[in-house]
Symmetry: C2
Subunit: 412 residues, 2 copies
């Protein structure tokens, strides 16, 4: 993979020109894209900016994010050839930091569950996960150092786990969703994919102009709460093994690790996530669903068909549960610095019939807390499996710092 | 003005056909639009739907809301001829309830402060207010029974006050902002304009499929907290008189009315509203501001120029103040059912140089609480002045019911 931090260091010391860094991505795309299919469209003549912390960094943008310079097709024929007038806020953040928008990456239609043709870069017989399929695969294949995705259930952390890349779903609204196709306004969160945790920290810090997000010189051994999310069912062997390895490595490196059960209201929030998501999706996709029913992606359409009788009262109740659960979860962080839990049930499923199961992700999206995927294990078939480090709402710097601690511990 | 409730009753009993109701708006537009200039574009051949609670109701949509069937120009040359692919969620809510989208109404550019050419329907020498200028003026002139606007500072309640119409800025997120041009995601709220409070309740209930928003048969005499917002400065004589009249009328009708001071943290929230708004506006308008600087509306551009050094830390601190203030305000509602306060400093300013001052509105937008404007007084020049009734977050039904109580009391 291409490390953003490495590129920055080499550019800063004059060893590499920004355009040289872009050329490296261009060549890698030439070598791998045909096999993986991570891009919807690209600007192969794209040049580097001459200033900004992200000069020389080629970025892929999930194709549900508005771009003035590329079509934005949402993975759906309903938006075939669609060209927004302006750029999404996060795209402008990248540009202002000097990044080069190299292209748009594949997305499941409207960031739901209908798979794209993108292949897992580590094993072409498997899904890269979704909905941010192309962004995860493009970074995982070593084509680009940074990509943007979004998560409403598990659309950043799950594909990152499957593709063996680091990723962050930041605290809710740390990154704006202005100009990003809406699925559920309570849940939709823009996230980043990169080679490692330091790369994520540098990317997120540059986008938001928040130096506090950069990694500290040394990370104090953290207090880790190990969470198995039994309310979401049991993991596969590979998922369980990834979590065991990460916990053991962290403990060896000096962390205190103890099993932690979630308060009942938090498990209840896991259960009602679909009520929030689907009620809002009916409003967010009202035009597509009502006026373009036949062209809707079948899995999303089926989901909307099934949930169309959800009442406002059921939604209001779900929103209240989420609020109480956020409060209870905040108390959990009085005793631990972070939670460590599964990023996905196991390795990427075989074939392209499914993008995998977001059941270990959706709770944390609803809670709005920062989640960082760290690759932890390689299962049969060369398929990566990650774990996620989760911090208190707003403590994105801490989530990144401890994720780095776990990442380093796993290398030992 | 055209009452939505009256039209519904006449259509329900067969006295008026839905198309007959639309024809009434068409004729009224023919009579008044030339003088007022409330519309950007219209479908003068629009027909009524045959079903739905809002069949026969002609609605005007503020031109920052996406419509597939009309251009959406945001009041700015930057979006000249812009045609979204789909409809905003609130537009689809209206269509699903059977309403007829009759046209797009004027908006100050990007719903900021640069005035439109729209005139106050009660006195053509004065502003109708903004930013939802056309929606307020179209209802106030008796052209249409319902219109949608948005409020980030005071863009629904203030123009409603100036134009002598009822309006509701509902609780934050009761109506989705999907497909509405974003100014500030923490603040932007879609609102409704109609002839009277019952019309608002019927419109909002039909859009959201929430029968609980309809007015009760009888409203219990409420406990009213009278709030003068001294932290926002003193009102003009006409504003003070409107508040005095409304409070006196409510008291005569049986309400308990007592002066109420806001907790210090709430006044502090009033002060930091611009920090939240402008920091988010820099991200929401990043493409327009960076790539179309010269074409930006001068007042908004100046505002962005002045606030461009606001730090993430200052924004984070402002967001925290807002959270603490929402909590403190919730405690205030333990002792009173609603707050009664100024909708604007006074009557609509003379000329079209300014859309007026949102200083009595912005706090409540940041608090996310439901606000209803009730016309209360007519100042010199035939200029209306309203007051606003404010309830606890989520208590939109109560805000409407008490607003109706005040409206009726003022008629006695």
């Amino acid at each position: 993979m291409i490390s953003l931090a490495d590129l920055q260091r080499r550019i800063d010391c004059g060893e590499l020109s920004p355009d040289g860094a872009i050329a490296q991505s261009r060549e890698a795309i030439g070598a791998h894209e045909k096999a993986v299919g991570a891009f919807v469209c690209r600007d192969d003549k794209a040049r580097a900016a001459t200033a900004g912390p992200l000069r020389g960094i080629a970025v892929g943008i999930k194709d549900i994010m508005d771009t003035a310079d590329f079509p934005t097709e949402m993975g759906s024929p309903i938006y075939k050839g669609w060209r927004p007038r302006g750029d999404a806020a996060v795209v402008m953040m990248l540009k202002q930091a000097g990044a080069t928008i190299f292209g748009k990456t594949t997305t499941t239609a409207f960031a739901a569950n209908d798979p794209t043709p993108t292949l897992n870069p580590h094993n072409h017989g498997h899904t890269p996960g979704g909905s941010s399929s192309g962004s995860a695969a493009a970074v995982g294949a070593g084509m680009i150092p940074l990509a943007l995705g979004t998560q409403t259930g598990g659309s950043v952390i799950r594909p990152a786990s499957f593709c063996g890349v680091a990723a962050i779903k930041p605290s809710y609204r740390l990154l704006p969703t202005v100009g990003v196709k809406c699925f559920s306004w309570t849940l939709d969160t823009v996230g980043l994919f990169a080679a490692g945790v330091e790369d994520l920290a540098r990317g997120l810090s540059a986008m938001t102009n928040r130096p506090g997000l950069l990694l500290p010189a040394a990370v104090k051994a953290p207090r880790i709460g190990l969470v198995t999310q039994e309310f979401a069912g049991a993991p596969e062997a590979a998922g369980a093994e990834a979590l065991r390895l990460a916990a053991a490595a962290a403990e060896r490196a000096g962390a205190s690790v103890r099993a932690l059960a979630m308060p009942d209201i938090v498990a209840e929030a896991w259960r009602i996530h679909p009520d929030v998501q689907d009620f809002e999706a009916h409003q967010a996709f009202a035009w597509e669903y009502r006026e373009n029913y036949d062209a809707m992606p079948p899995l999303l359409r089926g989901r909307l068909d099934e949930s169309k009788d959800t009442t406002p009262a059921a939604y209001d109740e779900a929103v209240k549960v989420a609020g109480r659960a956020r409060h209870a979860l905040s108390g959990v962080f009085d005793d631990v610095d972070v939670l460590l839990t599964l990023s996905a049930p196991g390795a990427a499923p075989k074939g392209l019939g499914s993008t995998g199961d977001p059941r270990y992700n959706r709770l944390w999206t609803l809670m709005g807390v920062p989640c960082v995927n760290v690759p932890a294990f390689v299962a049969d078939g060369g398929l990566p499996v990650g774990v996620q480090v989760i911090a208190r709402f707003g403590a994105d710097a801490q989530a990144l710092a401890v994720a780095r601690f776990v990442e380093e511990a796993l290398k030992k």
